[in-house]
Symmetry: D2
């Protein structure tokens, strides 16, 4: 994978809408996660394997700005970028687009924890790969 943003797509499910007729705002955090997981997979570090090998990455901070609603059946492009990697944490930024138009932006901070949920260093190879993936 070359450095730079990673793109994945989600299509808005009926179950993800609410009675305003648009995707519920909490759903975007699930889509950020889908984008992040696809990013890691394409980077060669599928997150299921990362966890199986003993490091989990809980989210410690998450935010989202919603500019335009998205609707059932719309295809949402999720662009995921690694903003920064430190020894024990990593920050991802996200842009959501529908038909090329920016509809929301988000950000999540994650930390590396061991199986006992104590902070650990991000595995070296993953840290390097994330760093290369950072613009």
């Amino acid at each position: 994978m070359t450095a730079g943003p990673h793109t994945t797509h989600v299509r808005v499910r009926y179950a993800e809408t609410d009675q305003q007729g648009v995707a519920h705002h909490a759903q975007y955090f699930v889509w950020m996660e889908a984008g992040r997981v696809a990013f890691l997979r394409d980077l060669g570090f599928p997150y299921d394997r990362v966890e199986a090998e003993g490091t989990m990455f809980p989210v410690v901070e998450a935010s989202c700005r919603y500019m335009s609603p998205v609707r059932f059946e719309e295809e949402v492009e999720v662009e995921t970028r690694c903003r920064s990697v430190r020894s024990r944490g990593v920050v991802f930024d996200y842009d959501f687009r529908v038909a090329g138009r920016l509809v929301a932006t988000g950000s999540t901070s994650l930390v590396a924890l061991g199986p006992d949920r104590r902070p650990v260093r991000i595995p070296e190879a993953l840290a390097r790969a994330l760093d290369r993936g950072t613009l």
Copy 2:
């Protein structure tokens, strides 16, 4: 707890609605689970402890019939009954009511698994309690 049905309440959350303006049908299975968990808790077998002690109860069959939609902010009464207990499995039935009116019914079958996900017998004391809770 005396034998017989157990009652708990859930209030329909905004996130649980869909663009039809009613609670999404998949949500009822989450409410059945909430009813079942409350039933076990009141029976003296909180499910978090049951799992921590080594037995989990995955759902192997689930069904729901929807008679009338339920809406945001409505309070739904979930009546949970244990229909049958066998050595390795248990069946629960559910009635959903809003303001006394039956709006849906459901059923779930669960089996007992050990930490390795292999079938085990339901712990003796829990089986007896469930049996007493069965009409």
Copy 3:
């Protein structure tokens, strides 16, 4: 589209897992919906348009049998078949497979409602298309 089953794929999201380390059982109903919606889209009747044109299809009965758990990041093949079409209702069956292995089956019955939530006939062209899509 030729007659016969329709296939779509979902990848298990992290948010869809529960503390048993497998996809939560309620999630399968969301996947059935995704399969059904993709089936309708490929049939030429995107469900967003069907609703916009005045007919909605709430689920009045749903069931699922779970044979094997599915895990985070696994790709689940959802095969959707229209079992029967009547004037006011339609039944879909579903098979879930992971790597070719059947892991769950499900079924949903839906009825056609007008904007006022009263029963209506399924739009003629859609009924015919569903009928052709039925084995």
Copy 4:
């Protein structure tokens, strides 16, 4: 209702956990919504009625900081405060506590939209009530 924070409680559902064995981070936004809705209900402005009367309040910004995980069956106290009310928008802050200990904080900004999703002024009586509810 006297001025000041409003408190409601949610119990962590099994379906809300993920394979890390804790409540999924997206879920907290649903709990914020539950807190906000309960706040409005106790203030005399049930949100279902607010929407039925023609004003909806989509979330335009949301954030959460996670300090400690919360687990299945834990009771989470959600304290909701109205931080500011303007003519067209309102900001709520949230504290999440388990057994008195702060486990997360959050914030959401909402704007008032009319039925056509165009910005409108917050209904006068609601704005006054929120303002009284603000510390």
